[in-house]
Assembly symmetry: C2
Homo-oligomer: 221 residues x 2
Amino acid sequence: MMNLSIAEENYIKSIYKLEEEGQEAVTTNALANELDTKPASVTDMAKKLKEKQLISYEKYQGINLTSEGKKAALSIIRRHRLWECFLVDKLSFSWEEVHELAEELEHVRSEKLINRLSDFLGNPQIDPHGDPIPDALGKMGKPRVQTPLHKAKAKRLEVVAVSDKSTALLEFLNAKGIRLGTQLDVIERYEFDNSIELKIRNQPAFTISEQVSKNIMVKPI
Amino acid sequence: MMNLSIAEENYIKSIYKLEEEGQEAVTTNALANELDTKPASVTDMAKKLKEKQLISYEKYQGINLTSEGKKAALSIIRRHRLWECFLVDKLSFSWEEVHELAEELEHVRSEKLINRLSDFLGNPQIDPHGDPIPDALGKMGKPRVQTPLHKAKAKRLEVVAVSDKSTALLEFLNAKGIRLGTQLDVIERYEFDNSIELKIRNQPAFTISEQVSKNIMVKPI
DNA sequence: ACTTTTATTTAGATTTACCTAAACTTTATT
DNA sequence: AATAAAGTTTAGGTAAATCTAAATAAAAGT
Ligand SMILES: [Mn+2]
Ligand SMILES: [Mn+2]
Ligand SMILES: [Mn+2]
Ligand SMILES: [Mn+2]
């Protein structure tokens, strides 16, 4: 596997993410938006990554990772999520603080370092946001059947992941007492704005917007 | 303190190192050599760092860090050495493996991260090569009176640091059983090539070159 | 089918961090 | 003091990663 620049790694990771979110072919605009850059820059980089055989790309046809590209993406994601575990488990950061830091730490490329880190952490399977961690060979468990709260049918649910890692959302969840493993009772669903009234065991009920519930992944208990 | 690029940080750190080694003003050539780059590139960067007020520099007169520059250098060195401690103490790397990795990790700039890391490690005072670690305020203990083995007078000595961090030297020292804290008996000094015959407690005596002894810092016991 | 809107690409610049080759200073040697 | 050698800077260029503005293609509306 060849050496990628930090910029190239960030592109690969974002392409992986958008593909995972369902995009058949990742569009120039979607990538520009995800990476907070301009479409023209994406087109430039697309040519370069195609040259390196990490993506398939034809003018106006969007982008897809090749199997080489997927391998690279999984390796970067593994680093990212292990560093997040380290920060939370060992340095007592909270889940809304670690994404930005891991965004930088993930670019230190050393197999040996990352495998030792994994051992040191007890080879964790999920990161602080509930996302699965690829193993040293790039295997990432099952695709994880993620039901977002706004589509869940059961009344009693457990939080298994959050899909948006922004500080804004995570701080909101902190304030409401929602974290990984939290058990929720759905009291009411309001059709008007798709808001949901929730209750956590000994606490008073509260309401969250659809925007929020879309980003909370749950499983029935 | 402004934001420095990785390249700028590496320059600042190298200037600090060369100043520490005694250079009144750091020369263009010395820096180019230290950073494995070309003198013309050093001149370019010198202009930029002067602009940012991190160094004082006049054409043909060499380079010196300003107090701002020193502050920046100490912060980078703190990060470098704490990561080295982490790698050795927590991930069981050996001392010859950690310099290159720390060379990358040091560029993740977060006060909070580095202070938590320091706490996590028990606020160590010296790194795996015997070098002192600046505290959060940039204080670095005493300048440490480092006697290189080739100049030491006493017969019984303890290894307190190594000044060259190359894998080559450190692996050589590993092979000879020399590490931090090792106690050495000087058996003989050969005037011809300044080689030194040494003995470590239960082991057979062996001889090291001046090249090596220059890089082993000792104190009498 | 034609037109408007949206998405994407190209053309041409910019910034950072390098480089080589040539010019210029400083220092050392006759 | 004059010349040679060594060190340093300038001039001009390259590659990566970005940008804006203009051109072109695809999609959506009528
Ligand atoms: Mn990143
Ligand atoms: Mn995460
Ligand atoms: Mn470095
Ligand atoms: Mn060190």
